[in-house]
Symmetry: C3
Amino acid sequence: MGGAKFQVKYEENRDCMKTINEQSERKSLRDVRVGENVRIFDFVNAYECEIGENSRVGAFVEIQRGVRVGKNCKISSHAFICEGVTIEDGVFVGHGVMFTNDKHPRAINDDGSQRKEGDWKLIPTLVKKHASIGSNATILPGITIGEGALVGAGAVVTKDVPDGATVLGNPARALR
Amino acid sequence: MGGAKFQVKYEENRDCMKTINEQSERKSLRDVRVGENVRIFDFVNAYECEIGENSRVGAFVEIQRGVRVGKNCKISSHAFICEGVTIEDGVFVGHGVMFTNDKHPRAINDDGSQRKEGDWKLIPTLVKKHASIGSNATILPGITIGEGALVGAGAVVTKDVPDGATVLGNPARALR
Amino acid sequence: MGGAKFQVKYEENRDCMKTINEQSERKSLRDVRVGENVRIFDFVNAYECEIGENSRVGAFVEIQRGVRVGKNCKISSHAFICEGVTIEDGVFVGHGVMFTNDKHPRAINDDGSQRKEGDWKLIPTLVKKHASIGSNATILPGITIGEGALVGAGAVVTKDVPDGATVLGNPARALR
């Protein structure tokens, strides 16, 4: 990732989290709650989310409101983590991974009016601990990715992935 | 998307467009023609293009010269919209969607010289109104995506999508 | 790409390379060794790598340490080029292309400790001269992409691509 550009310091309480706001040249962090030793690289857009201790967030990542990232995770560059996603401890999210939260994304409503919050239903996604999601994978809404599961690079995950399973392809299927 | 960082104000004429140039810390906008109430988020690179009223452009998006985006569109984070693409009103472009405009992309010509404008043929793409393109989809050059059509997340679209159709997969096929 | 924002000037020696460091508003370049006439656009994160003369690097690109990019290459926006990748002269890397270097990416080791350098094996990748990699393609670790080969947009490349071959799909297969 190329050198930590941001590191939270804790003087007193190892386990507490702390809310940071940084509107600097190369970062847009608004109400990001972080654990100890979290590293967030340049060109990151994150807001109203939580990132557990020792986790790392690469360049060109967006993390939306309400997202919870556990401890010891790696969120690689170019990933997009949308509202409704929960990521447990020790998860690897590869480069360019896209999560989704809307089964029928549309810019406008049937009556032609612009879609706003409340006009669509957010479908949550859960990534269980120690799972690994390969680069450029796409995760459809409402998916649970099981503990220690492996999603292959470039896979399009359209149904739940059992604990420990490996899935590949578009649509993603379990490796025999 | 996390809070509008840029919003065009119109005092007098609701329907006019206005050309903006902003070379700020977190934005590179050059000769971007925008309608009323267009919102462009941080870390966007756009130039010599047009974005219709009420449309939103997410973080880490690049929009090239000559692109026209209609009204009430949502261009999600990490999308790339190249020269030759026209997007009608009310279109949703998901996160990480990549358009293309060259059937035979090469860095160099057959004689080993570096490729320049005029050495290749731009193939245009049209996305008709109210269509929706899922995250991480890839759109090959010369495609027309029909009115109200839905392109599934992660799909690779290699031929035209009829009005109202849903296509999925790599290569993308119509949902039966 | 929208106008060169950075251009190296050479006064005396056409063939020499030069190491640049730029920590500016919209660029993070650390120990990037560049040839003559290299253009690097905004919002790029690159470090400890080498980019040959006349090559261009688009917006939202990350290039990691040890990467070598040849002369006359085009690295398109949103691409990620990881440690272990070597790109020869005259190569086109499309938008959103993701390279990888770890067959079993994990955030943590089996004992639950956070993964560090030395805890995993880097698998190198080679892209031979004049090859072209379409947008949103994913390149698995350890791949050699042959001279003049073409990787289709959205392809997931899981095995070597012979010289001059065209491959498409997920997993990528040779065009008949």
